[in-house]
Amino acid sequence: MWKKRILALIILLLGAGIAFFVFKSEPKLNKNFENQSSFFKHHPFRLGLDLSGGSHLIYKADVSGVPAGQVSDSMNALRDVIERRVNLFGVSEPVVQIQEGGFISGNSDEKLIVDLPGVTDVEKATAMIGQTPLLEFKIERSKDEPQTLTVGKDGVAKVDLSQQYVSTELTGRYLKKAVLEFDQNTREPKVGLQFDDTGSKLFADITKNNVGKIVAIYLDGAPISTPVVREEITGGEAQISGNFTPIEAKQLVGRLNSGALPVPISLLSKQTIGASLGDNALFAGMKAAFIGFLFIALFLILWYRLPGLIAVLSLCIYVVIILTLFKLLPVTLTAAGIAGFIISLGIAVDANVLIFERLKEEMRAGRTVTDSVSTGFSRAWFSIRDSNTSSIITAIILFWFGTSLIKGFALTLGMGVLISMLSAITISRIFLYAINFVGESKIARFLFSSGLSK
């Protein structure tokens, strides 16, 4: 008996602890948020675009020119390029995802989805995403040409670095692709470049005229690599060897490939949600959740009395558990996701109601309160399992096939149903056992009855 009460107390304390975490880690609730430790700071709710405001862009990648086996490679490269460009915006937590074509979607289009929270100027965003950074090959300026020397006021002479190299015709436009290679003897990582036909010719000319000199590779006006030419290269392939670490080499490959998008892209659809609309939706969602919770609590206490109060208590614990999971996993909350969570509140009660109705029947059949509680739980379990299975099936299928909007709903609903099942059969049970000290008096039977009966 005492063991059970201590267990109930522990659960209450744990619940309070989790609620404290939810409160602490939420900038909107915790006024002192800035001064919290990083653990709290790193776990605010993650809001979807429809609540935070921002842009959702879907691009189609034209992979018709890519050999079948390399589609996913070039899509990954494309994602990296776009991700890098998006990061240049200074957007917090941009999401760039590949959506593969296939049977379900009904066509073989490869798509790229770009989510930009907080960005509502789509025109600027699409311009930056679609824009190709400038990749240039420059050669050393011949020594005969004069260089301008600027002497600053402090008397120090400066040579403008960019003057040392002159542009050639060869740019990223002629680069077919860059690949990561390893030297067969030294296992040293290298970056291989493949030019197209025009590029190959230009590159052959440049290397022929500059043996022993530096050919500088510029990205957006800044040198990223300055390899020395060893011999004329005619095959349209070049290698950049330097003291790369494999990671550096890989990054360089990525950057070189981003000189030209690996595959052309076109904007299929775009969605922008203004910040004010998102705020309103978020506020409305929270309000609906709060009022819904109040309705349920009121109903449970009025109808089911003491067990109802316990159900409300275990519902509170369910709420803090699921909110914590939303924070920790994290689950991106959308308007539909909040709807899923709110519906799960209603469903979470379902298991409790099943148990209480059984409990009542057992009492009517002449059992003591204590006996009724234990048989009520064991008999209700099968109904709880069966009645929730179909919701879980639906949630799984929705999650599997849905767009991000549907996924949000399916995830919150599915998680809700699953966790509410567990919370109803464990937490409610422990609480009910802990308070059955009320014995068999008339008051006890009244408290454990329900509805309009006395």
Binding site: S105, G106, G274, A284, A336, G346, L354
Partner: protein, 299 residues
């Protein structure tokens, strides 16, 4: 049990509601939204004065964007519907709406969906509906694999599916009314609502059937109809209570929740309501009716 005694009346009510819904679906039709057919939807709010539609229409027509539909929203806003727009077209549309920047407006949301994305979503939705239906039929078949007397298990499954259709058709029928009178369109969330109703409403039916199964095993009554009546008596409070809690939260979502999920929640409310109704007033009476037909045939 009252419900079993007057089973034909209740079955009749359900049949009538289904017929009305089907008629409504065919007469009013369902308006497909831009999620599925592609197109653009923009919502703007003017800062001071909203220009009239007749002022804006000629300017917008000159942009050659095809048919553009302006719907007033709130006191100072418009919802603009058109075919899907490129960024340049979008900019020129905004420019036209703001009368070349003279009338300051804020674009609250903009959504442009290419036709191919819409087609893809349509296909996904159809696949999802088929899969959910199949999965639920399999689940019902599995849940009732052990019951065979006096009504064989596949009949339970069949009746569960009939009441499932009932639960989906009636909310869809009601939705067509909204669609017709309020211009509400079918979007992704509509499909999600239909699928969620499939999942939620079948569970109620299953719990009641579970009870019937248990009572059959315990032989609580000699007559099948009596067994069903007792089972209903034992479980209808629970059915109503659990759907009531879900309906309570759904209603708070309809009235206080975000605008984007309003009709979604409303649709689910109807689904929940008719799901509970059908599990009490349709599925169980049907079960008894089928059993009686079977018995009469044997005679």
């Amino acid at each position: 049990m009252f419900i079993i005694k007057h089973k034909k009346v209740f079955i009749g009510i359900s049949v009538l509601l289904i017929i009305l819904s089907v008629i409504s679906i065919f007469v009013f039709g369902l308006k497909i939204g831009i999620d599925f057919k592609g197109g653009a939807l923009s919502e703007v709010v003017y800062k001071d004065i909203r220009p009239s539609q007749s002022e804006l229409n000629p300017v917008i027509e000159s942009l050659n964007l095809g048919s553009v539909l302006l719907q007033p929203t709130g006191d100072l806003g418009y919802i603009i519907k058109s075919r899907d727009l490129t960024e340049a077209e979008h900019t020129s549309l905004l420019n036209a709406l703001s009368e070349n920047g003279k009338n300051i407006l804020e674009e609250k949301s903009f959504n442009s969906i290419g036709p191919s994305v819409g087609r893809e979503l349509t296909r996904k939705a159809i696949v999802a509906i088929i899969l959910v239906s199949l999965a639920i039929i399999c689940f019902i078949a599995f849940a009732f694999r052990k019951v065979s007397k006096p009504v064989s298990s596949w009949r339970y499954g069949f009746i569960a599916i009939v009441s499932l259709l009932h639960d989906v058709l009636i909310p869809v029928g009601i939705f067509t009314l909204f669609s017709h009178f309020k211009g509400v369109e079918i979007d992704t969330l509509f499909v999600v609502a239909v699928l969620t109703i499939l999942g939620l409403s079948v569970s109620d039916t299953i719990v009641i059937f579970d009870r019937i199964r248990e009572n059959l095993r315990n032989r609580v009554a000699t007559e099948f109809s009596e067994t069903v009546g007792t089972s209903l008596n034992q479980s209808f409070v629970r059915s109503i209570c659990t759907s009531l809690t879900v309906i309570l939260v759904l209603l708070s979502l309809v009235f206080f929740g975000p605008a984007s999920t309003k009709y979604f929640a409303l649709m689910l409310t109807f689904g929940m309501f008719f799901g509970t109704y059908s599990s009490i007033f349709l599925a169980s009476p049907l079960l008894v009716w089928v059993e009686e037909l079977q018995k009469n045939k044997k005679k």
